[in-house]
């Protein structure tokens, strides 16, 4: 009898562990659904000026007092990156931003918000070379930025070509790719491709293969 109780107890513990692992896995799945409905490319939050719209123009001084013009006709494409000094994820992206600006011939502009001493500390600590660092709440409000790091790609005609949350190097690069492929975002591209596939699958059966090769 006693031995039976012992065995049953051990069994129950094993089941309790299995159940708690299952619930944890379930919660993770919900998280995946929430955040990474499509794992490639920067997430596009559907707010603010839309892709294809003229970018709102701003003229203001950056942190070192140099004049910066955002939007309107420029001689190069502009990558606007919204950061906060207190965001560890953002710091990790700084080298990528510099490299991307160099490789893709983009004017990178960092837009940040917050207290002056935070920015001074941030700039002392991180090398941003000659990237303009603009402190402005208005730009963030203009683009309806809710979370950082967020990036907006504006072409040289002042039109928004891609935008999204950029948590990794891949996200940042995906914005440039989205522009090169002339789609709003990789997600939009996938959606379009799937819709086309569903519509006339037999004619475009090569489409999905094309999607993956167009990636990189």
């Amino acid at each position: 009898m006693l031995e039976g109780l012992l065995v049953s107890n051990i069994l129950l513990w094993a089941i309790a562990i299995a159940l708690s692992v299952t619930v944890l896995a379930l919660a993770r799945q919900i998280g995946l659904l929430h955040e990474r409905s499509a794992p490639l490319g920067a997430m596009v939050t559907d707010n603010g000026p839309e892709i294809g719209d003229k970018a709102p123009t701003f003229q203001l001084d950056d942190f070192s007092g140099k004049r910066v013009e955002i939007g309107g006709v420029q001689h190069r494409d502009t990558l606007l990156v919204f950061l906060a000094p207190s965001c560890p994820m953002c710091n990790k992206l700084l080298p990528t931003m510099r490299a991307l600006g160099r490789e893709e011939h983009l004017d990178v502009i960092i837009v940040s918000d917050g207290a002056r001493e935070d920015h001074e500390r941030f700039l002392r600590k991180h090398q941003i070379d000659n990237i303009p660092y603009v402190v402005s709440a208005e730009i963030g409000i203009g683009y309806r930025i809710g979370r950082v790091p967020y990036a907006v790609l504006i072409d040289n005609q002042g039109v928004i070509r891609a935008k999204g949350l950029v948590n990794t190097r891949e996200h940042l690069e995906s914005l440039v790719e989205a522009k090169a492929m002339n789609v709003a975002s990789l997600q939009a591209y996938l959606k379009e491709a799937r819709a086309q596939d569903a519509e006339d699958g037999h004619r475009h059966s090569g489409k999905s293969a094309h999607t993956s090769s167009a990636g990189r």
Partner: protein, 186 residues
Amino acid sequence: MLYDVLHDPMILAFAQAILMLVFLAGAWSKLRARETFEGVVSNYRLLPEFAVGPASYLLPLSELAVGLGVAYVPTRPYAAVGAVLLLTVFNIAIGINLARGRREIDCGCFSSVLKQHLSVGLVARNTVLMGLAAWLAWGAPQILPHMGWLDWLIGLAAALVVAFVYMTASLLAAQAKVAHNSRQAG
């Protein structure tokens, strides 16, 4: 009665397994995302810049030592004292930033996926863990000779369940926060 329950070897094994899991999980998630953790450390704004890098190695490695040491009987009292010290450091760091009103920074406790911000609840959680560790260091040695394999097994099983449920709850809380934020933005 309560005294007997608290001094049951199974409870001791449970406390020990909880501490082991907490510290190993903390060390693992910090070392895996060490660059991010460096940002987290500097975000606390307590250390001079030159100390931030070393601290971002030292903290998770100390956690690793505590997590491993607590599972091994001869080193257990020392590891438990180490756990109390580490948790004291964490609580002071969190307390200072709460006093500064900087609640929104990432606590860095486990993975930053959990988006745990600073709160009094975190200090309370750490204090409970400190109680467990202190008891393990000073109250437990008399009980040790009475521990059998079943105590270890059940203690570990119970600790695993608590750890999984805690992770689930934090994960769901983080997701609720994300959903809330995006609703506000929209």
